[in-house]
């Protein structure tokens, strides 16, 4: 684990943003023996509003609990992208749900990785596991945590009845990430109009 990695995950309420952050944080401190601190933005809105969680991974105890300049930003809504993309650290990583986010200008040197997590989740029969698909994809393209740590953290964070489904979701996202790194994903994936999704 690197000295300090700041991660922000953001999207709509109900997409499983908080659970993704719990999985990543748990992988860091329970399954890899490092330190992690997870905080989340609490607002009066419960579903459908903007939702954001922050995870700090470190090999030393985390002091300041908030992310200021994320090394890695994972976004699952255009609104979250608009708010948080300008904060990504130079040479950082941006991970997007490609059907929900359209990328325009970015800080210098930011690497962008896109994953059709919602569609991959739908292939598994449950759209609700898109967050875990994103965690798998994040794990592959960022390389900040061992895939086994993340996979164990997924299993430890979901109800027993949904463990297999979530493991599959993780693997699907992870494999898609590896294929992306290997250049096996066609560059021209169709993008859904953002305006249509936001209604």
């Amino acid at each position: 684990m690197q000295h300090l990695t700041e991660i922000r995950i953001a999207g709509f309420g109900g997409q499983g943003v908080i659970l993704s952050a719990i999985v990543i944080g748990k992988a860091g401190c329970i399954f890899e023996g490092g330190y992690s601190t997870m905080t989340q933005s609490f607002g009066p809105e419960a579903r459908g509003g903007a939702c954001s969680a922050q995870v700090i991974l470190s090999d030393q105890p985390v002091l300041y609990p908030y992310v200021t300049r994320p090394d890695i930003l994972v976004v699952m809504s255009q609104e979250a992208y608009t708010i948080f993309a300008p904060q990504v650290r130079e040479n950082g990583i941006l991970v997007i749900e490609q059907d929900l986010v359209r990328v325009d200008k970015l800080p210098a040197g930011v690497r962008v990785y896109s994953c059709p997590a919602t569609r991959l989740a739908e292939d598994l029969g449950k759209k609700m596991v898109l967050n875990i698909v994103m965690v798998g994809f994040f794990g592959a393209v960022s390389g900040v945590l061992k895939p086994d740590s993340l996979r164990d953290a997924v299993a430890a964070s979901v109800p027993e009845a949904y463990r297999d489904l979530n493991r599959k979701a993780f693997d699907k996202g992870y494999e898609y990430g590896i294929k992306t790194l290997n250049g096996e994903i066609p560059a021209e994936e169709p993008q859904i109009e953002v305006a249509a999704l936001e209604t």
Partner: protein, 385 residues
């Protein structure tokens, strides 16, 4: 004695501070809570309500905070270890019954997950604005104990300590969390039950008929009767004699209220908990508590990088205030820097204890977020000149 294994969730967990606090209460032996859940403390009793049936105990959701804060005291006199949790608006409503717990020497724990105030203020955002309220919010003269965790791990550890202190000194003990500590999630290690020290209730061995319910022992704390074993006791908020019967004379008032204060004051050294680092040789000492202590640590590290000699003093017990330690540091350093998420509360205690021997520089913040480490660093640099 050791904790009852039934309530101890031994292992490494990824928990937020609220949930860790609940596990601390269960490990300490709490088997009753009456609550009127309020953000950002709700998760404590939400978890307790779900966990306690598996352990053998009761959670009651009450009609308001007045009911919550008095019902738990009934449970205590009935033999349970009990607590409630709240935040600013509810804490204000509990003040009257906190006074009753002090007067009747009812061992119990109140958890206040602080949010921005006054009034309903900032329900979901942090502050440290109840630090004087916890000390002085109920009327009359008294002493209480208040603990300030700065991580989910400490939310567990210090909730156990809070129960232990409450049983030892028969006083309400307060766990003064803040929204950030309550809602941040980190690794929490819960040890095996046999490694968790739990202070049992001080039950009398004197038989009914001979027992005086409020006769103090050598440490100024009376033992308690076992309910249902023939002890007839009178428990009142009125000034009372050693039998528990009202005795509203200046002489008894003097005797009782002084004892209620002195049982804490004469044990300050046993109660006080703090963390001190690199105070020797320091020009500046940063005094902080709760989440602010972690932000302050970053500022301290930045200042040390600049060659400034900075020491750290973290209040773990805010009350009783560690005035002896602060007075000693005041004689050694040029200045104190005191950041807190309020516009000036514990800083007054630092000023009082420093007694003019060192400059005291407050770094205020009205709440809603935490300080920027740079603001604390700036204050350190200014007083170090």
């Amino acid at each position: 004695m050791h904790a009852d294994p039934a309530g101890v969730l031994t292992g490494s967990h990824f928990l937020d501070g609220d949930h860790a606090c609940c596990e601390g209460a269960l490990a300490a032996g709490a088997r009753f809570s009456s609550g009127y859940p309020i953000t950002p403390s709700t998760e404590v009793v939400e978890r307790f309500a779900s966990r306690v049936p598996t352990v053998g105990g009761t959670f009651i959701q009450m009609e308001d905070e007045l009911a919550a804060s008095i019902t738990l005291q009934g449970a205590v006199w009935g033999g349970a270890k009990a607590f409630t949790v709240t935040s600013g608006p509810g804490f204000s409503l509990m003040m009257e019954h906190i006074g009753l717990a002090i007067m009747t020497e009812t061992p119990c724990v109140f958890v206040d997950v602080q949010r921005g105030g006054p009034s309903t203020g900032l329900p979901t955002l942090p502050a440290q604005g109840d630090m004087m309220q916890v000390r002085w919010g109920s009327h009359g003269d008294y002493e209480i104990i208040a603990l300030c965790p700065n991580s989910p791990q400490e939310c567990f550890d210090l909730t156990v300590t809070a129960f232990n202190y409450s049983e030892q000194y028969r006083v309400p003990v307060f766990v003064m969390m803040d929204e950030v500590v309550g809602h941040m999630t980190e690794k929490v290690v819960i040890p095996p039950a046999e490694q968790i020290e739990v202070t049992p209730r001080r039950y009398t061995t004197i038989p009914p008929g001979e027992f005086l319910a409020f006769e103090p022992k050598d440490d100024l704390v009376p033992d308690m009767p076992r309910t249902g074993e023939g002890y007839n006791v009178h428990v009142t908020g009125l000034t009372h004699d050693n039998r528990g019967y009202p005795d509203m004379t200046p002489a008894q008032q003097d005797k009782l209220v002084k004892r209620l204060c002195n049982k804490i004051r004469q044990n300050v050294d046993k109660i006080t908990l703090y963390e001190a680092d690199q105070i020797e040789g320091a020009d500046v000492a940063v005094v902080s508590y709760g989440i602010t202590s972690r932000v302050a640590q970053r500022a301290i590290d930045l200042a040390r990088d600049k060659g400034i000699k900075v020491g750290k003093f973290r209040l773990i017990t805010a009350w009783p205030f560690p005035e002896k330690q602060i007075a000693e540091i005041a004689a050694k350093v040029k200045a104190f820097v005191v950041p807190e998420l309020n516009l000036g509360q514990m800083v007054r205690e630092v000023e009082r204890a420093a007694a003019g021997k060192a400059v005291v520089r407050h770094v205020p913040h009205a709440g809603g977020s935490v300080h920027k480490p740079e603001d604390i660093l700036q204050a350190i640099m200014e007083v170090a000149r």
